[in-house]
Symmetry: D2
């Protein structure tokens, strides 16, 4: 028997990824999908302009789009692909009504009592759930995952913590899909680089410290790392590539760094990559188009680990960096018996 899951904002770019990842999922079954008002009442195949390269999964083709309302969504878990301002209003209604909300939205990520989780990095932060429910008097709860440009970076920073990581400089080269289907006009990005993405640098700098922080049973104590980011939009469809400079008190060699990357452990659930971090030895990898789909887009690929320590990391922004991250959080909670 599978858990019945719903998708909030199922017709957008991230919503379609949720559909794609959750169809034929061994633990989850899509039973409810929401859309904005003008599409409510339509079948999914009529309300959504499907833009992925794989066909619309049959199980949702005829499913009816409903309003993002706890009374209308017939399921146990909701995955949220809502824009931040809408998530802010809607997600608490679901948590209050007893739903598990696995959210990709940024609205509640930085709240004290709401877990911001990458399963391989800080699964123990789920301990905040009890505190959250008590404090907010909710039957359900909200669990969030980080921003698409934070997630690949932090997966690689986590194993560096053991060496006394204290300073990070990171420059991102981010795909257009990160801005949603209509986010980046082609006239803005063909033969061009845009060295600015609104609020992105702030998200990387704050979310990373929460993710790498310690949960003491009450709250998360932020990691003390000096992080500066510089974010760029580049003309690629999918995949965020990041150039990282990391300083550690113990000054590990590139070989030592590669070793801890390779040893980084999978959480061993259906969508979890066997190798959360793949280390490439070629001088010119990872490359965005060639490596973004590693382990179905769920692995982070690292390369060019050099003295400095400097390295390159790459992750798929709408899979590992968005829908896949929420799905993985839900799988973790099932595995841990929280759901």
């Amino acid at each position: 028997m599978r858990y019945r899951v719903g998708i909030l904002g199922s017709t957008g770019a991230v919503g379609q990824r949720f559909i794609q990842l959750l169809s034929s999922h061994p633990w989850f079954e899509i039973t409810a999908i929401s859309a904005s008002e003008r599409n409510v009442g339509k079948k999914y195949s009529e309300g959504a302009v499907w833009r992925l390269e794989t066909p619309i999964p049959e199980e949702v083709t005829d499913l009816e789009l409903v309003a993002p309302d706890p009374k209308k969504m017939d399921c146990d878990i909701v995955f949220s692909a809502l824009p931040s301002d809408e998530a802010k209003k809607v997600e608490p209604l679901f948590a209050e009504s007893g739903f598990v909300v696995a959210s990709n939205a940024s609205a509640y990520r930085m709240e004290d009592d709401i877990p911001l989780v990458i399963p391989e990095v800080n699964a123990d932060h789920l301990g905040l759930i009890d505190i959250q429910r008590k404090k907010r008097k909710w039957d359900g709860f909200i669990v969030t995952n980080p921003n698409c440009s934070t997630i690949g970076l932090v997966i690689t920073l986590k194993p560096l913590m053991q060496f006394g990581l204290h300073e990070v400089r990171v420059v991102t080269m981010q795909a257009v899909s990160g801005a949603g289907y209509e986010g980046v006009p082609s006239m803005a990005i063909l033969d061009n680089i845009i060295p600015y993405i609104a609020k992105e640098e702030e998200k990387i700098e704050t979310e990373s410290k929460k993710l790498l922080g310690e949960f003491d049973g009450e709250k998360v104590k932020f990691a003390e790392i000096d992080i500066l980011a510089s974010c760029n939009r580049v003309p690629v469809i999918d995949g965020h590539l990041e150039a990282v400079f990391a300083r550690m008190h113990e000054n590990p060699t590139p070989e030592e760094v590669k070793k801890v990357f390779k040893d980084f452990r999978s959480i061993d659930t259906p969508s979890a990559p066997k190798h959360p971090i793949i280390v490439r030895e070629e001088v010119d990898r990872p490359q965005t188009r060639l490596d973004r789909n590693a382990e179905n887009g769920m692995s982070v690929t690292v390369g060019r680990v050099r003295e400095g320590i400097r390295y390159i990391c790459l992750s798929h922004n709408t899979i590992r960096g968005a829908a896949g991250a929420s799905v993985l959080n839900a799988e973790l909670m099932v595995k841990k018996g929280i759901i």
Copy 2:
């Protein structure tokens, strides 16, 4: 009366930029152009596959391509767009025979007695010319300009030296034209980022220290700056965009940094930009396609100067970063009476 100039390697990507920049030049007249053996004897319009968007200048259309041989090149100054290994052999022959060699090649950049010059940055390094001629017993001499990814960066670092600049982290996003016409296959770069350019990081890290070093009348004492670079190839035609993190002992504010950028002075010759550094205040500038041609591709455009200090700089890699750099060096030498 104009100086008679020749171009070594006149048919390649940088060679064509030399042709473009030197045609109708008020001080220089193209009188000799070299090509590789199979094109010697042809007219320029027959030996070169012209690939720039402006038409072939009339003054070279019928000029005959000759071998890169001092006896065949009828001129006073030669501009070198040769590949490094060829430059290594050919340029000394010209210097020995009394030519002024203004070279864009990397072969001699790091030699003790050969000036590596950006006119606005270290014009005084031209003092090495006397030392070079004495030591090598040459009638002529070689003057070089830095690599395309170094030049934009160093123009912005120079004014920061007054604040005690001691650490730089830079990530480049470099245009395909930097690798020459056939350098980057389209299959390698469409919908892709390649986080590696052979020898590029080393060039940035060493050339910068020489350029920012002090000439004491005998030799150049390298600047003591901790520089690390991470170089990437991106799918744009022209323009190298760089994300810079700079640490200075005096800790200037962004406003102070912008002021010294804006105050940075032109050398006031025909090809020199009025503003070597243009500071943009918009949150999303410079952008590669929109800003690479600022002041005919000779200005460096800077933006997003933030606490950190962090900023973005952009320069045209085959104009300011290659052919234009050599031309500017020649203009500087004319102005200073060295030629």
Copy 3:
């Protein structure tokens, strides 16, 4: 003394081209610019996000944006870059109030009494102006230019009329700028071709017949040509490239066709290209990026004229195909004494 001109819809993609082409124009002076309501009252530099690679012309930087209202626009001629539905309402108000309206909008192109003109092709169709004014009782009048994909094609078809042109098959490869700044999302077009542009094929098929038709003093008799078009959006910034198959009763040779292309005459006004049609003999030209700016983007470049007759033509869609077309119409009318 220069004519005082206004631009309707001055802040959009085509509006910006009008600004660029009309600044420093020898016959015209920009004295009025309109924008949509939320920008009225602002200076141009504040109300427009300037996206061209040349800087905002100084003469408009501080000019105030006004409503598209005949009473607010202080000028003699208005150039219209309005979207079709807005043009439909606004342009007649200007014509009624005595303005000359040179419109790039599609709203009135196919009206019986409104000239649809390409100066080099059918200048005599301006004879419709008298009929228009009489019929509509307007003090001013409207003159239109064709759609961006029609114009390059028809300039090449006109000289073929003398050979008894009767059938045309054309496939277009159109730049993203043709859809306006936000018209084509980057996710839609990176690594992709879209074989559909709404209403484009119909425009080519109908406008061409009007343009190539005969004005008998009363009305335009449409040309009897069997035209079928297939329109595609391709990932280039500017420039519409078209592959044409043309059948003529007289069956001319490729050499004869090239001759009439080369002989096609300029109208000899400030913006008119010296060569309305440039014929390239290279086997692989015209190419979009290399040839779109020929004669400041006002020439049509033709190549690969082969048995068939088959050929390729290219024109700049926002210059020759939009703003430049309207400006040329206005210049023609000045030259003919109509204005």
Copy 4:
């Protein structure tokens, strides 16, 4: 038990597709792979720079690269991904020595006694094999498949033959992978369209007539269709999109045309698509990136079937248009008992 197969030219772009398609094939087992001299003796993973997005199949990783010599290739069938001039010399050596040669090279396609085959289109042309072996006194034989831009087109033309097809005008928009990995420099194609591909139009025009011709037991009588092509290179990685105008004596309606497209039959072998032609009803499909991988890149997707008859067809140029075509020919021969 599986047939033992070899790949000639296994390290190039098409060679890698052969490796990808033949690994884990139910009927074939890769036992021999050839490369050019400098890579002979290396393992495949060392001699090939693997550029596909899926990993190198384990079964070839350690396989040794050998010379393209019948004595060195231990197998029954060879698939040829050789360049045309090399194929010309090498393929007959294999045929003579008793191998079945399934070739993607153009060298022998138009020879009278060599079958040029698309299984769904003209399987009966395999009758030429007997004639070939007799005439050339070969133990083995050569069977070829058409050029990448011909194949998608002809699959759609075949069902139109029943309506009396007599005239075709086709304009192609072809991916860069069609020219091989280094075939199209990025500087040539970024923000550009190149309206020329050497020999491509001739291939479409001649190969189509042979493929659609009738085999009378002795020779192929070419189809009498007036075909003109205009071929363009566009900035997409994979996928050839073609705009077709087709004239038929019986003048079918678009609905009739769509019906025969949909009814076109699969040959029902492991790599054969269930639907050789997929008909899309959306107004803007097929699109290159979204549809090129339909049925693992083996289906042709058709759309926009309009009066004219006009339509768009799309096929994956290195799968259905190259390696997959040869594999399908081999499967057909196995199924028919020829192998």
